[in-house]
Structure formats: structure tokens, C-alpha cells
């Protein structure tokens, strides 16, 4: 039984997982820096520029500061859950990266290595399942802190995530009607075909709903109600200190990175380079070009995330719920109906 396992495949996937996780963490590390720089530039100031050239070592200084801080676990908290909270948030954030196609296949040592950890045929459902797990990190952390503010924030976070997942799912159903598959690798390959545009052309309204819901799922401004510094004293991670707090804020950035990747994959052609026929290049070059193209798209999305954050004030809680249930859900339903009608009418 053991001998029948393809050990090289096992090793190959293990290396890929390690690369993806470290790359996600590294990108999240520098996203914290980019966030401060973008905030600064939008507010006419230079931002962090003292640590290293152009302040590039700032994230390491921040990380060192967090690690050196005193670790406080409140006496009245539920200690097991208190420690579990940030780890759940981080794990859920990183798990999503498993089904994302990072680029086309690489040919190495006579083997064809797909740059995707698992091309499961229910890729989108998997992403949804894991993203919904992310709310447990907030819920458990907020509840285990045994603090009224944290509990309020956890409740808000949970109800917000559930409301916005609905609209997000409905907007995705319309996308699935046009693609006809849940497999992420297949969705990208469809968009790469000559004569086929990126899905944003077919689903502009669906994308708009999806990006709004992605902001809410990542707890980013204007939907950062679980954190709400000025009403809830920093929200669900109020009692956290040291690296546990670091894990929470870090998982937010990992989430932002992953949802940017998902948006690029679903609506903007994934690793596709526009107006370039990748099959003319040698497979390894095409793979490298693909990774770079995907990362450029992701950087643009992350910039949009930050740009929105430093422009719009936070929504009030009733506005948030009204927007979710009374505007986005009907819009997503209408989008779904229109897409279905068009598919029937055009006979595609």
C-alpha cells in the first residue's frame, strides 16, 4: 500500500506548499509596509522611511516589536480558546491558497509539475468553505476574551460575514453559469482561449458585487466594524497582545492577498497575459511570465483595497446591513436572472 504512493509527487507538492505559504507570508509582511506607505502618500506625507533604504526594513522592525512585547492572557478568559483564536484565523487565511492556480505547468526533470497545490473540481466551493471558517477565528477570539467589547465585535463580525457571503455566493452563481465549471484551473484556461475575453467582460455587475463582498469578508474599511477602534476599543482582539495580536492583524493581510488572487483568477484571467499567445513560448518561460502577470494583477487589487480604506469612512452598522440585504442581494439575484436569460437567448 505504502509503495503505491507516488513519493516524488508527494515531495513536489510539499515543496509547492512551502513556497506558497512562505510567499503568502512574505507578501503579507510587505503589504503591512505598503499599507502604511499608501496611507501616507494619499495623505501627503512620506510614510515610514527610516528603517533601511526607503524604510524597507520597517516590517521586520514591526515584527520584532510585536515578538518582544509581553504576552498577556487575561485571568478570566477561556485559555484554550483564547490561544486557539488567532491560530484558527491564520490557518483559515492560509488554507485558501491550496486551490489557486498560480501559473501554467512547469516542465522539470522530465516531469510536468502543475503550479497548483490541488486542482479539485469543487475549487470555488472549497474557497467558500474555508473563507467561512475564517469567521471562527474572530468569534472564538472575541468570545474567549471574556470582554464585552470583544464579544460585541465578534457578534458583529459573524453577522457581517454571514450577510455578505450570501451576496457573494449569488454573484458567483452567475459566473458559474457562464463558465459551467467549479474548477479554478479550468476557469482560467477558458479565459485564456483565443476569442474568449476575461470574465469581467461577461460579469461586470457580478464582479462589482464580489469585490464589495470581498471587502466585507476581509473586514477591511469601509466594513471594518469588528475592529471599529473608536466604538469598540479595537474590537475582537482587544485583549490580545504580542504575537497573538500579530497573528490576527497578519491574517487580515493574508486574507487580503488571497482574496485579491481569487478575484484576479475568477474575473481577470488569472495568470493570463492579455494579447499574448502563451502556447508560442516554451512552457517554463510561459509559467514564469504567468506568475508575474498574476502577481501584477494582485498588486493592483491590493492597492485598490488600500485606496478604498484610506478614502471612505466606516459604515454604520444599520447601513452595512441595509447595503448587504436590501441592495447587494437583490442586485446579485437580478444579475443571476439576467445572465441566465442571456445564456438562454444567445443559446450558448
Amino acid at each position: 500500500m505504502l509503495l503505491s504512493i507516488d513519493w516524488i509527487l508527494f515531495l513536489e507538492k510539499l515543496i509547492l506548499i512551502a513556497i506558497v505559504i512562505f510567499a503568502s507570508l512574505g507578501i503579507a509582511l510587505y503589504t503591512t509596509f505598503a499599507e502604511r506607505k499608501v496611507a501616507a502618500v494619499l495623505q501627503d506625507r512620506p510614510g515610514p522611511n527610516r528603517a533601511g533604504p526607503f524604510g524597507l526594513f520597517q516590517p521586520f522592525a514591526d515584527g520584532l516589536k510585536l515578538i518582544m512585547k509581553e504576552e498577556i492572557i487575561p485571568n478570566t478568559s477561556n485559555k484554550v480558546l483564547f490561544i486557539l483564536g488567532p491560530f484558527l484565523a491564520m490557518t483559515a487565511a492560509l488554507m485558501t491558497s491550496a486551490v489557486i492556480p498560480w501559473s501554467s505547468d512547469v516542465h522539470l526533470f522530465g516531469r510536468v509539475i502543475p503550479l497548483q497545490i490541488a486542482d479539485v473540481n469543487i475549487g470555488i466551493l472549497y474557497i467558500f468553505a474555508v473563507v467561512s471558517l475564517g469567521v471562527y477565528g474572530i468569534m472564538i477570539g472575541g468570545w474567549a476574551s471574556n470582554n464585552k467589547f470583544s464579544l460585541m465585535a465578534a457578534l458583529r463580525g459573524a453577522s457581517q460575514a454571514i450577510s455578505y457571503e450570501l451576496a457573494m455566493g449569488l454573484s458567483l452563481i452567475a459566473l458559474l453559469m457562464t463558465t459551467g465549471t467549479l474548477q479554478l484551473g479550468e476557469i482560467v484556461k477558458q479565459q485564456m482561449q483565443p476569442g474568449h475575453w476575461w470574465n469581467i467582460v461577461y460579469q461586470p455587475l457580478g464582479f462589482l458585487i464580489f469585490i464589495i463582498c470581498a471587502f466585507a469578508e476581509c473586514n477591511r474599511t469601509p466594513f471594518d466594524l469588528p475592529e471599529a477602534e473608536n466604538e469598540l476599543n479595537f474590537g475582537y482582539h482587544q485583549e490580545y497582545s504580542s504575537m497573538k495580536l500579530g497573528f490576527y492583524s497578519f491574517s487580515e493581510y493574508v486574507n487580503m492577498f488571497i482574496s485579491s488572487v481569487v478575484m484576479a483568477t475568477l474575473y481577470f484571467g488569472g495568470y493570463d497575459v492579455p494579447f499574448l499567445n502563451e502556447s508560442l513560448l516554451s512552457p517554463n518561460v510561459a509559467a514564469i511570465v504567468g506568475v508575474i502577470a498574476l502577481l501584477i494583477k494582485v498588486v493592483i487589487f491590493i492597492f485598490i483595497f488600500m485606496w478604498v480604506r484610506w478614502t471612505i469612512p466606516r459604515f454604520r452598522y444599520d447601513q452595512l446591513m441595509n447595503l448587504g440585504w436590501k441592495s447587494l442581494v437583490p442586485l446579485a439575484l437580478a444579475n443571476m436572472l439576467i445572465t441566465g436569460a442571456l445564456i438562454l437567448w444567445l443559446g450558448k
Binding site: 502618500v41 494619499l42 506625507r45 512620506p46 485606496w307 478604498v308 478614502t311 447595503l323 441592495s327
Partner: protein, 177 residues
């Protein structure tokens, strides 16, 4: 109630339309405003490397002046201490001995002259009260320190360098180069 200005506007309480409730158009307008700020000039001054020039009437740390032969001008008359609203200045007078004519300009001089920079409000009244042009407010301010008693500046901190024996330091203190 009488309006104070004619600029008052009644609050618009019309319910929002569907497009307004989506917030998208106004959010987009706001994002264009913040984007335009990327290209604006930053007013930041990188402090230790760059310094903002003070105006010529800036009132900073005090300087006890010397005349062109390098003699102290202060005669310890005490007018500055009287003028000081914060009572930051104390001094002790002494009589000039024969042979000290190259040190002190007049027969009487300040043996001890102290200003408490934590009390001082940098109003410049001492400068105005001085009949001998002996005290001036310079264009530097007191540096930060960990210890309170380091803010009591004595004569050695306040006196300007001697223009005859140390012309370079004197020129630097005067801000001539």
C-alpha cells in the same frame, strides 16, 4: 432665531434614491480626490537632516554677549531678573579687581548668572530690559534632556565664545557662516 450669516443651508432630508443607497458614485468621487493627492507636494520636513529656518525675530535660548574686545557686557544690574515674568533669572554680582579689565567691561560683573530654562517662557522681556545689550535671545531652542537640573543654564552655557581668542566659534554662534 435670527441667522448669524446668510450662508445657512437647510438640511436636506430627502430619502436616498437606490443609486445613492449603493454609495458607489460618491465613493468613486472620493477615491478620485484621494488619488489626486498622490501627486501633491509633501510638506514634510525630514527633521534632523533638514531644518526649517526660523524667522529673524525668533526667541530661542539666551546668549550673554561680549563686546568687540571680548569683554563681558553684563554688569549684574538685575533689570532682566526684575523684568522676567517667570522669575527664571538669578544672578550674583561681584566687583572687578585690578588686572581683570580685559575680562569685564565695567567695574561690576555677574559672578553667577543662571537661567532656569524650564521656567523661562521665552518672552524676550529680559532682552528688552537690558541697558547694556548684554543678553540676547538666539535662534536655537533648548535640547531635550532626561534630567531637570540640566536645564538650569549657568554662565558657561550662556556666554558667547570670545571673538578675540576663538573667532571661529564666535562667528558660528553669531550665525555668520
Amino acid at each position: 432665531m435670527q441667522a448669524l450669516t446668510n450662508r445657512a443651508q437647510p438640511v436636506n432630508r430627502k430619502p436616498m434614491t437606490f443609486l445613492e443607497r449603493l454609495y458607489l458614485i460618491n465613493i468613486f468621487k472620493g477615491m478620485l480626490i484621494t488619488f489626486s493627492h498622490i501627486f501633491k507636494k509633501q510638506p514634510t520636513i525630514q527633521y534632523p537632516e533638514q531644518k526649517r529656518p526660523f524667522s529673524p525675530v525668533f526667541r530661542g535660548l539666551h546668549v550673554l554677549n561680549r563686546d568687540e574686545e571680548g569683554r563681558e557686557r553684563c554688569t549684574a544690574c538685575g533689570l532682566c531678573a526684575v523684568a522676567c515674568p517667570a522669575e527664571a533669572i538669578t544672578m550674583e554680582a561681584a566687583e572687578r579687581l585690578p588686572g581683570e579689565e580685559n575680562l569685564y567691561r565695567e567695574e561690576k560683573y555677574a559672578a553667577r548668572y543662571e537661567i532656569n530654562m524650564l521656567r523661562c517662557i521665552f518672552c524676550g522681556l529680559c532682552e528688552e530690559a537690558c541697558p547694556k545689550d548684554a543678553i540676547y535671545l538666539s535662534e536655537t531652542f533648548a535640547p531635550a534632556n532626561f534630567n531637570r537640573n540640566t536645564f538650569i543654564y549657568g554662565k558657561e552655557d550662556l556666554l558667547i565664545p570670545n571673538p578675540v581668542t576663538e573667532p571661529e566659534a564666535y562667528a558660528k554662534a553669531k550665525g555668520l557662516n
